[in-house]
Amino acid sequence: MLTESLFFSAVLFTIGVIGVLTRRNAIIIFMCVELMLNAVNLTFVAFAQVYGVAGQVFVFFVMTVAAAEAAVGLAIIIALFRHRQTVNLSNINLLKG
């Protein structure tokens, strides 16, 4: 059971990472980040079966932070869109040296 859970979470995480690295749409990158977070949550839950309830508790923390992060992230993306009429990150390079 543990092995399967960890394998599944690793797959989810990798999909998330690949999404972040390859996509250019800010919304999709954002969703991929959420995917990575939830992959980690799955790992926590899986290990909680073996090592006790601490993992379960941690998942709640992660979800809380993820919710806050989602609120802020979406707000930023909306502000970005209002400014630039696009959420394509290729067109945004304000930090260029």
């Binding site: 972040v20 690295l21 990150l89 290729s90 945004i92 390079n93 304000l94 260029k96 040296g97």
Partner: protein, 762 residues
Amino acid sequence: MLLQHAADAVQAGAGAHPLSGTAAEYLWLVPLLPLLGFVLNGLLSLVSAYRVGPADPGADHDAAHGGGHAVATTHGHATDSGGGAHGDDHHPVVRHRFATLTSIIGPGVLALSFFLAVAIFAAMRGVGGGVHAPFIQSYFAWMPVGDLRINAAFQLDQLSMLMMLIITGVGTLIHIFSVGYMQDDPGYPRYFAYLNLFVFFMLMLVLGANYPVLFVGWEGVGLCSYLLIGFWFSEKANADAGKKAFIVNRIGDFGLLIAMFMLFANLGTLDFVGIAAAAPSQLVFGGALVTAICLFMFLGCAGKSAQIPLYVWLPDAMAGPTPVSALIHAATMVTAGVYLVARSNFLFSLAPAAELTVVLVGALTAIFAATIGLKQWDIKKVLAYSTVSQLGYMFVGVGSGAYVAGVFHLMTHAFFKALLFLGSGSVIFAMHRAYHHTGNHDDAQDMRNMGGLKQYMRTTWILMWIATLAIAGVPFFSGFFSKDEILGGVFLRASEHSTLAQAHWLGIPGTAILYLSYALGLAAAFMTAVYMTRMMLYTFHGPNRTGERERGHLAEAPWTMTGPLVILGVLSAVGGWFNLPALIPLGPVGVLEHWLEPVVGEGALRVTNGAPIEATHSVEYALIGAAVVIAIAGIALAFARLKPDRLVPKAQSPEEHGFERVLANKYYVDEAYDKAVVQPVVATSRGLLWRGVDVGLIDGLTRLIVQSKDDDAAPGTTVPMGGLAARAVGWVGSQVQSGQVGTYAWVLVVGVLFVLGAFTFR
């Protein structure tokens, strides 16, 4: 920590010292009392410094400074600004608001110190069979580093006891004198704070049980000397004199430090006791090492004790208040070099070549300064050169292995030179007060403006004559005995019986050096008699030259000033009784010699090849006779040749010509030093270090690296190459920053994989 009675390790092994449990246990309190005085007076000074004082006292009278160097700048407004009651300024009399308190604390702590020193002295005298080993009090481990074990420790032996009595005794008298002399000075508590601090450091210097503790005192007295020379720092000349003293002393201190390093590197200890024990066996007699150590140490002595070539600071040090000249620049601090040589007799007696150097430098300084003293007009400058000359005498004494004679002269000199300086202070005080009443701006220190003062200040006159006879070496005054002992000592050691006579100095036989030094010493003694008599004649005899209106205001100083003078006068007269020669048995013979025997006896014997010097009576009579004849002849010559009635006030005096002019200008040594040392240093600093290194190299590099525009260039113009290096580095850095979030994410992931890989496959 000082309160602990801390039994010392050295003593613990050898059983209790005869002095433990006596008044000597309170040794630490002797220097601590002046330190307490410093703290209290310093606080009083600080408290009053924040108050805005009376309106600028110098505004009405733009007084020229008495020394004739500079026009007084405007005085500060704060009560304690360094301006104000200069010996020669004219100011409304305003006593400091804490003056009474300071007058009690300042001399009070010194008097307590002195009484304690006397009690310790009594305890030392009371020990049956005498004190043979020094009594050492160790307070805490100061520098426990590796093999270096340096304790903050005091050492009480016969030499430090004697110095302690001189410092606290003469110091107390001078503090009391200062109460009168400085009474109207706006910086009154500051003055006493410095003076107390000086005594603290001076006691530390003579009580230290090892070279580093001595060195702390050594530097501390240098600091206080600097502070007090520049006491009236609002005049640039005074501040410059302080700086000069400090810098010249640094040259000497470098030598002392090197000597300490060499001692530690070769003997592994810096304690006097340890070095005295190790030196004879571990250092080769007359070897290059011990000679080098002694010569470096003597460089320090030459700086502190104003010997050729580092004597130039002492005459300038007269810019300080006159009691300071008496205490620091005549009686105590400047004799620290003599003390150091006597203290280090276990080293110097191993190095005849170094001792010959000391003798020769001392003798040359004695004659050199004496000739300059012949033509000085400033009363304090005469005494300053006289001090340099007498210090030369002391070095002839301690250099030739006659340590007792040198220390004896140190003691008598402390008496009569303090008296002379305080007497001159009393004269300047009277002159200044007279000038002050009439608003005259003449020079209150120039002897040409004095004359005939004996009818106005009889006490000072008589006492100054006593001191003059003492310094000139007239029989039965203190200076006669000590000077005679030094000259006799060097003459007798020129015979075959001493290691000095057998040694060579740059190829010259030691005998020749010693005889030459004896001859120079005699000549200097002659000149001393001449210039001291000249000073007395021009100051106190002949017609009065102060001017009609000022004459009525000339008066003797108050009792706080004349009282100490009287005591010093008595000491100057009878101070020689402390060490009577066997030939003149007016009382117990050679008291000081027996007293100092445990400290310097071994070293002195080593110089004379193990046997005490024995002179036939005829030789001794001849030596004493020569000294007496020389002294009387000098005084007689001065009386015969100098005509105070023909002297005219400074303003109308003609210029000197020929050799007189060279003497009046001090052989142009200051000018020569200026040309040879100061100007090249300034030129190098400006031309090479400032314009070359600072502006050219450092600023140039800076401009190359960071600045795109030159500060000096017109606005908007860029200097070629400006900021090239910075731009190049910046361009490389900026290429990494694409601004693409994706790139950053890639870098992040690759980094994470790299770290994970490093952990997994290590």
